[in-house]
């Protein structure tokens, strides 16, 4: 079934690419009379990695790049999008550990976040439709990658290959309905209602039963501000009685052609007075040539109510060879004893530090 689906997607892409070879170039002017509709766009990525934790065991518990001393796969990600007039859709599917059990919910088993590998994943990363009511006002509904946070699931859209604690502990996807209004080129506001639980394809009843009535009760909003050219800031809130409340600031400033500085800060309060988290991560990146960029990620992550904290430093390089990016990365994490991650040294003794090296390759098309 999966092979059939893949073959169908590839066939659609090949037919569309062939049909588009004589199409006029889209001028990108929404205001032009009868502009040609953009073609059916096909894109995606594949990624693979090797990771070596210096304690000879997988210590750092953030998302993806999980296998110790193994040449492992991330995912193959395949996306289609099409816009006709004011209406558009995006469909994006993924296969592989990163694109199934490590980032997607089980399609059949209510709130169980762990998919039975290869069995019940719907493979859907994005599935939504969108309509431009006006040039400034857009409506979108479906299952979407979350608007919260700096890092994302796709390795092609992240600079670092390993992920932050902020990413791992925040939402991955939110299904719902959202409206976005652009007040100007510099300010826009999104507000939406989303299913009661994060990271699920459907809403669920309060008891977690899929047959009971769920509700669409999570409120989300994002204020986007572009104070100066090159600098964009997103102020995000996601709040609901089932999944809790997260406030998030995500911002990036391309200060020069070569230097970019990113920042992510968030605070999360779960429902029922549980222990949430506070965290901040900073992302300086310096392009030293047209193919090599170096970057750091410095993160401080604190679990509220005495749950301890962790500080992580990750040094990463992106080395580009056309569509292929090699990502060597070294990471050092130091935690307090109370922090939940069970770091152990090479002798199996508990410790408060962990370090790893990884080499990843990501091909984006």
């Amino acid at each position: 079934m999966k092979k059939l689906l893949l073959l169908s997607l590839l066939a659609v892409a090949i037919v569309s690419a062939k049909a588009e070879t004589t199409a006029p170039i889209d001028t990108g002017k929404a205001a032009a009379p009868a502009p040609p509709d953009p073609p059916l766009v096909f894109s995606g990525s594949v990624d693979t990695y090797w990771k070596y934790d210096f304690a000879k065991r997988a210590n750092i518990p953030t998302s993806f790049a999980s296998d110790q001393n193994s040449v492992s796969i991330g995912m193959i990600d395949l996306g289609l999008k099409k816009k006709v007039g004011k209406a558009s859709f995006v469909g994006e599917i993924s296969f592989g550990p990163r694109g199934q059990e490590q980032s997607l919910p089980d399609g059949s088993n209510s709130l169980d976040p762990i998919v039975t590998p290869g069995v019940s994943s719907y493979h859907i990363q994005n599935l939504y439709v969108s309509y431009d009511v006006t040039d400034k006002f857009n409506l979108t509904a479906g299952y979407m990658s979350t608007f919260v946070g700096y890092e994302v699931i796709s390795p092609a859209a992240n600079f670092n290959y390993s992920t932050s604690y902020l990413f791992t502990n925040g939402p991955f996807q939110n299904a719902g309905f959202k409206a976005t209004y652009a007040f100007s080129d510099k300010v826009s506001l999104m507000a939406g209602i989303f299913n009661n639980y994060w990271n699920t394809y459907t809403s669920y009843s309060s008891t977690g039963e899929s047959l009971g009535s769920g509700d669409v009760s999570t409120f989300g909003a994002q204020l986007t501000v572009t104070p100066v050219k090159g600098w964009t800031a997103y102020l995000n809130v996601l709040t609901g009685s089932y999944s809790g409340t997260e406030f998030d600031l995500t911002t990036a400033y391309q200060i020069t052609d070569a230097f970019k500085l990113g920042l992510n800060a968030a605070t999360f309060s779960p429902p029922h007075n549980g222990a949430g988290f506070d965290g901040v991560a900073i992302y300086p990146q310096l392009a030293v040539s047209k193919v090599v960029t170096f970057g750091l990620r410095g993160e401080y992550f604190d679990v509220k109510k005495g749950g301890g904290n962790v500080t992580g430093i990750t040094a990463t390089a992106n080395i580009k060879a056309g569509p292929l990016t090699f990502i060597p990365e070294v990471r050092f994490d130091n935690k307090t004893t109370a922090f939940y991650a069970p770091f152990k040294d090479s002798n199996g003794v508990s410790t408060n530090s962990a370090s790893q090296f990884l080499l990843a390759a990501v091909y984006a098309f």
Binding site: K29, A30, V41, S43, K260
Partner: protein
């Protein structure tokens, strides 16, 4: 798709890429040509305010998308400036100030501009590969050619173009 279209571009005295044309239209006054140029601008750029629109000359900003070749998706956009100047029985126009902004795929599966990255095509070889630059120049040449053909039609025919766009005459098929 646009092989060797970059040959349509030249370098001007400021060492900037330019697509430059002078067109003779004998018998048409400068005033009429300017009116045709204004009509072209209003039809093709109905929501864009020209940077200059006086003294028989118009300057307006434009931009177009660039695509990857093998698997076709947006790769970036190239902004440029279109200038038109009218005289008695002739006009000239040129496209220049080509600045490339790369796109990246965002979390929603859409390709969007990278905010803050603007690369003039003249210096792009320090930022992109030669193959990529050749592709952008080819697509720039292709865009200029298409826009040029459209502009020439408007300048030659003016408002008559609108009449040509009307639906074809009806044919009565029950009498033959």
């Amino acid at each position: 798709m646009a092989n060797a279209q970059k040959s349509l571009l030249s370098m001007n005295e400021h060492n900037k890429y330019i697509y430059y044309q002078v067109v003779d239209l004998p018998g048409i006054s400068a005033d009429s040509l300017y009116k045709n140029a204004v009509y072209f601008i209003k039809q093709v750029y109905p929501k864009t305010k020209p940077m200059q629109m006086s003294n028989n000359s118009i300057i307006i900003k434009d931009k177009f998308l660039t695509y990857t070749y093998i698997v076709k998706h947006e790769d970036g956009e190239i902004a440029c400036t279109l200038s038109i100047e009218c005289k008695e029985a002739k006009y000239r126009y040129w496209l220049t100030d080509f600045v490339f902004t790369p796109y990246e795929k965002n979390r929603y599966g859409l390709f969007v501009p990278i905010n803050g990255i603007d690369i003039p095509l003249e210096t792009a070889i320090s930022k992109v590969t030669k193959k990529e630059l050749d592709g952008y120049l080819d697509q720039t040449g292709s865009f200029c050619k298409q826009l040029s053909e459209k502009l020439k039609k408007y300048m030659a025919e003016g408002r008559a173009i609108k009449k040509q766009d009307q639906p074809p005459a009806k044919v009565v098929t029950d009498k033959w």
